[in-house]
């Protein structure tokens, strides 16, 4: 007899959502967490960064109020309060998760979990925060231990809490650095660059690939770089960091690009070069759990090669996104409970909440072509969109990629004001397997920026209305 039907290890968005769903399905569920309920997302990721970025955005807006016929004098900020607001938001949400666990009668076990081989699913041994050990068993165990910032010790890219930061330090700074080098131009690097730039820091972003935000469509990368440069962020692309060194006044980042070496000096350097899965020191080797470059190898239901053990979210590989973790969690639990899931391949949107924002779903134009599709591509700029003009938010555009043969929407890409709130429209269309006609036939409210999404679909088939 097991103690539980399901034990979830890690209370990030993947884990806690899995636990809630399990409880809804009548499974007796426990969740083990070594640090904070809510995981990285609520405490050190998605949420606190969005709080900081909002402060930055409002502050930046104050500097061009004249566009709206307004003015203020004496624009200033209290950096401590900006950071404290962000921490408060994180705390509020984490306590919300505690409430949800209670509401769904999920037992929260505070401590660090290790797994041991057992007849059925692995046994879970928790080194309790309160001291001592507790061993619990379940018919199924879900590993949702997430990931942490990747560091590169060989070149000194390891956070020291003072001059060299990863996201945790970058979220809880004591002062706002005047000069900053950000290594990596993925979503996390770009968001920090955007925030600190908004508050006045001199920011240089170093990217190894030959364009920023390499997972996005090339046109988006290009437009984003232009938009950020307009705001004063500098970029070094196709640039390799060979050394990160502390100096008397800050850090020196040695960079090589196109055969030229350069030393970027700054007060602080943020390392945002991806993440490493939390798979160590948990007894996974002894279980013979299959890993691939540190990530657990899981099938589409989260199943691993160890009977009764499942893995979801960041620990199970890319894309490292909270909503993917949650979706995985629900799917995995429904699979465990035997609920027959309909066959849908849900595309996972990706968002960057910098100023301007970037949002995309599905294939980039290049990826679609590489996959052998004959494509039809549409674009529509916000600068001719009524609502955008009225709001003085005319930067950016929407782009669609359709399969020319079937009319299936393969991908959509947007850059501009609040595009992260709009991408779900295309995501729904893709999940429901809509075609261009469904997008044509959808009535988009006027005036909204979303009308550009309609036009970008029309444009792909040569019939935009407003351009």
């Amino acid at each position: 007899m097991s103690d539980f039907d399901l034990i979830v290890i890690g209370a990030g968005p993947g884990g806690y959502v899995a636990a809630i769903r399990a409880s809804q399905l009548g499974l007796k569920t426990a969740i083990v967490e070594r640090e904070n309920l809510g995981g990285i997302c609520l405490n050190w990721g998605c949420i606190p960064t969005k709080a900081l970025l909002k402060s930055g955005e409002v502050y930046e807006q104050l500097s061009h109020l004249d566009a709206y016929g307004l003015s203020v004098t004496g624009r200033s900020f209290d950096f401590g309060k900006v950071v404290e607001r962000s921490r408060g938001v994180a705390r509020q949400l984490a306590s919300g998760v505690a409430f949800l666990m209670k509401k769904h009668k999920i037992e929260v076990i505070e401590g660090t979990a290790k797994l041991e081989k057992a007849a059925g699913a692995p046994r879970v041994v928790v080194a309790l925060k309160a001291g001592g050990n507790r061993t619990v068993t379940a018919r199924s165990v879900i590993l949702a231990t997430g990931a942490r910032a990747r560091t590169i010790p060989a070149i000194g890219a390891v956070p020291d809490g003072e001059r060299i930061w990863a996201y945790r330090e970058a979220l809880t700074p004591k002062t706002c650095p005047k000069t900053l080098v950000v290594i990596g131009s993925g979503a996390i690097g770009i968001e920090f660059a955007s925030f600190y730039r908004a508050l006045g820091a001199e920011v240089t972003v170093v990217e190894a690939v030959d364009r920023i935000m390499p997972v996005e469509d090339e046109e988006i990368s290009k437009a984003a770089q232009k938009a950020f440069e307009k705001r004063g962020i500098k970029f070094r692309i196709g640039a390799k960091v060979s050394k990160v060194e502390k100096t008397k006044t800050g850090v020196a980042v040695a960079v090589e690009a196109g055969g030229k070496a350069e030393k970027l000096e700054a007060e602080v350097c943020i390392v945002a070069v991806g993440i490493a899965a939390n798979t160590e020191d948990m007894g996974l080797e002894a279980l013979g759990l299959k890993l691939d470059r540190g990530h657990v190898v899981a099938d589409k239901h989260g199943g691993t090669n160890v009977p009764g053990l499942y893995a979801i979210g960041d620990v199970a590989g890319a894309p490292w996104l909270a909503h993917k973790a949650m979706h995985d969690g629900v799917h995995c639990v429904e699979h465990i409970a035997g609920v027959k899931a309909p066959t849908v391949t849900a595309p996972v949107p990706g968002c960057t909440y910098a100023n301007p924002q970037v949002a995309s779903v599905g294939l980039t134009e290049a990826a679609a072509k590489a996959a052998g599709y004959e494509v039809k591509v549409g674009r529509f700029p916000f600068k001719v969109n009524g609502k955008a003009i009225a709001a003085s938010e005319t930067e950016g555009f929407a782009k669609t990629v359709f399969d020319a043969k079937t009319g299936a929407l393969l991908g959509a890409h947007m850059i501009g004001h609040e595009v992260t709130e709009m991408i779900q429209g295309y995501t729904i269309a893709m999940t429901m397997e809509g075609t261009e006609e469904d997008l044509f036939n959808t009535v988009f409210p006027h005036p909204t920026m979303s009308e550009a999404m309609h036009e970008a679909a029309l444009d792909a088939f040569g019939k935009p209305l407003h351009i």
Binding site: K340, T345, E433
Partner: protein, 439 residues
């Protein structure tokens, strides 16, 4: 308060079944756990137990009705008290029922109310009208993309089973339907492009007049056998490999083993030894323990061996799970139990669905050799013939040995000739020197 008893789903894939028999009549009182009906699916007959107690008010579906959809009300029970909303559960075996209980309750249409109870409409339970049945003709649920793809491929959407939300036909279903259609012929014009499903001619057309025979209706099992075997034989590129095995050593070993087991009442058959040898051989040649899927070749972690058991009206293939981890005595015991319950049609769906390799044995009927049809999605099926004394040539001289011929039918998409042969070699070595099975 009346409680509706709904047609239970006896397996995750069950959509409809036949209500074979009622064990209760109107006016009977039942309590939880009482068997109230028997339901026949493709492969098994299972008992339905009452979950609530009460008096049977009405039987809504007659015994013998085929094609009763899952969740259709089959009977009405008048509850003794204001019991919570009804729950129908399948046979005990399905106890860890996968459904979301709270949600199911909410979704359930309210019990049929007597006219004056109409005020109950204001109740919180939302009345979700049952989805229109697809054979109403005009409404086929399909995603826009699926519609377009089906049209382009000339496929009839109504004939495609939807796997999307609410049974909606989605792209993957159309792709699968397209993948199933035979590929274009190698030489252009040699055959009609997309061979339409074979249209069975009537017996009269074939010269057998009506009235000259009795017609036995096709039951669920017969239909399943007909469909699965036709699909398999037509769509899977299969080939047989045949090998002779000398089994005198095996028979001697069996005699010894049975002498040892006698006091416990245990007994091991040649077939059990074959199953054991198959399990060991699959472990040593894992490439033969594989299934073809469009996404890749599934290399199974364990040997789940299905054994064909002839039963009244057809056959069924119960499975010895993880046979590679089991000893001979256990395999023998499980095989005996499964075969017994198969004949009584008492197997649970999970006991005969799946499997990674099949063994069919007609040796006891004196069949010398035969080649079975692949049991999809398994990569191989072994056909075991009779062990009989035959002349063999040993060192240039004629001798007598007990010889058994086995044939391995392979799905060429996963198991090539060399792999199949390697498997048979290993299997032969194990059978001819049974001691090697334990090491």
């Amino acid at each position: 308060m009346s409680i509706e008893i709904l047609m239970p789903a006896l397996s995750p894939t069950m959509e409809e079944g036949s209500l074979a028999k009622w064990h209760v009549k109107v006016g009977d009182t039942v309590k939880a756990g009482d068997v109230i009906a028997e339901i026949e699916t493709d492969k098994a007959t299972m008992e339905v137990e009452a979950v609530d107690e009460g008096t049977i008010e009405a039987l809504l579906v007659e015994a013998g009705t085929e094609g009763v959809k899952v969740n259709e009300p089959i009977a009405r029970l008048s509850g003794e008290d204001a019991a919570p909303a009804p729950q129908t559960e399948g046979a005990k075996a399905e106890a860890p029922k996968a459904e979301d209980k709270p949600e199911r309750k909410a979704d359930k249409p309210p019990p049929p109310a007597a006219p004056f109870q109409a005020a109950g409409e204001t109740g919180a339970t939302a009345k979700a009208p049952p989805a229109p049945v697809s054979d109403s003709g005009d409404r086929i649920m399909a995603s826009p993309l699926a519609r377009r793809l089906a049209q382009a491929a000339g496929l009839d959407l109504a004939a495609i089973k939807g796997s999307g939300p609410h049974g909606r036909v989605v792209k993957a279903d159309v792709d699968a339907a397209r993948g199933k259609a035979p590929a274009a012929p190698a030489s252009p014009g040699a055959a009609p492009a997309a061979a339409a499903p074979r249209q069975a001619q009537t017996l009269a057309q074939l010269g057998i007049p009506e009235g000259s025979y009795d017609l036995v209706p096709l039951d669920g099992m017969r239909k399943t056998i007909a469909r699965r075997m036709t699909d398999s034989f037509r769509d899977i590129p299969h080939f047989p490999l045949t090998i002779d095995l000398e089994i005198d050593g095996l028979l001697a070993a069996r005699a010894k083993i049975n002498a040892m087991l006698e006091k416990d009442g245990g007994k091991v058959s040649v077939n059990d030894l074959v199953l054991k040898a198959v399990a060991v051989a699959l472990k040593r040649v894992p490439e033969a323990n594989a299934s073809y899927s469009p996404d890749g070749i599934a290399m199974h972690h364990h040997a789940d061996i299905a054994m064909a058991v002839a039963i009244d009206g057809g056959l069924i293939t119960p499975i010895i799970r993880k046979a590679d981890t089991k000893g001979l005595a256990q395999i023998a015991a499980e095989a005996k139990d499964l075969a017994g319950r198969a004949r009584d049609r008492k197997l649970k769906p999970e006991e005969f669905q799946g499997g990674t390799f099949s063994v069919s044995n007609l040796g006891m009927m004196g069949i010398k050799s035969f080649a079975s049809i692949i049991n999809e999605p398994q990569g191989c099926i072994m056909s075991v013939g009779a062990g009989e004394q035959r002349p063999v040539v040993r060192n240039g001289e004629l001798a007598i040995a007990t010889v058994m011929t086995v044939t391995l039918t392979c799905d060429h998409r996963v198991v090539d000739g060399a792999i199949g042969s390697k498997f048979l070699q290993v299997f032969k070595a194990l059978i001819e020197d049974p001691l090697t099975m334990i090491v």
